[in-house]
Symmetry: C2
Subunit: 192 residues, 2 copies
């Protein structure tokens, strides 16, 4: 195949489309859509997440040292996109605009989005200064999941969860068909 060089880019496929929620007052919260995040550790579970320093949510993360990562289902796409387009400065009550309910987390002060089938409670453990940038490293302290999407006591069925997928060409997608089982399909290449 003929290839073209595009220079330095952020073209990772796929990306998640998650909702980061922070506490902004006694009974108020802000929600920010983030695609630049990933798991970077398992013991303890760690998540890395880029949030621009100029964002409305940033001082609240700094003050509280925590946020929740809420994994939406594909049916929530309009609210997901809205929370990535409109700042909390313009709309101080994005949860109400999106028709979502905030509920207390169990281990941190940032609230959970009830309507999202999966919620991760995250405590910031490190702000990573890269010289030209900055991102947060957070420990996942608790996982809340809709019982309806559990395939086993601790196993989430991805198809039932129906997560939203973001791609750098600017579209949200549903999860497609299963093509293989992990730690299994590769056996075909194993030498006897």
């Amino acid at each position: 195949m003929a290839k073209k060089q595009l220079g330095p880019t952020t073209n990772l496929f796929p990306m998640p489309a998650v909702l980061v929620a922070v506490k902004t007052g006694e009974h108020t919260a802000n929600i920010l859509t983030v695609a630049w995040c990933g798991i970077v550790g398992g013991n303890p579970p760690l998540l890395a997440l880029e949030i621009g320093q100029s964002h409305f949510s940033t001082p609240y993360i700094e003050a509280e040292g925590c946020f929740t990562v809420n994994v939406p289902s594909s049916s929530q796409v309009v609210g997901v996109d809205y929370c990535g387009m409109v700042s909390g400065t313009t709309d101080p009550d994005k949860p109400a605009t999106c028709g979502w309910t905030m509920a207390p987390a169990s281990k941190i002060s940032a609230p959970l989005i009830v309507e999202c089938p999966l919620n991760l409670e995250c405590r910031v453990v490190k702000k990573v200064d890269t010289g030209t940038g900055l991102f947060y490293l957070a420990e996942i302290l608790e996982t809340h999941v809709d019982e309806a999407v559990l395939a086993a006591p601790k196993k989430i069925n991805a198809g039932a969860l129906d997560p939203l997928i973001f791609t750098p060409d600017g579209f949200y997608h549903k999860l497609g068909e299963r093509v293989a089982k992990a730690w299994d399909a590769g056996r075909a290449l194993k030498k006897a």
Copy 2:
């Protein structure tokens, strides 16, 4: 919806399924499958990636200070799974086993997987010690993309790329249907 708490977990949906390639000798390379990674910066483009310290590839990353991240298409799933199951200690020539060709990168010593439609040249800028873990932060120096998946001079069509998606329930998926356009669908909730 009734929710259940699962404790601290790494349940982020979706995850990428990418192939990390390193140079292991003058004409040899190793390939490692990674799902724990994400973009964490845009200027310059930064990628965070977890690679266990005991992995075969780790000393080569340490020695060369670089790796490539190769985004496979869904048709490459057997090789992708194999490279996540079998160590370079057992198979010192995984590229040959998978039927893949390695080619020189333009800015780093780690090689590219020719058959992958998208390749990112990454230089390690920081090894992040989290107290209990360790991961790499890398700057993306160059992007190589199959011309056939370009929708515009610098825009990759996600559907044409046909990336592989990993979900923590242990399955690989194709990208599903588009559900909305980003920075557009959310307008429906904007106040006049």
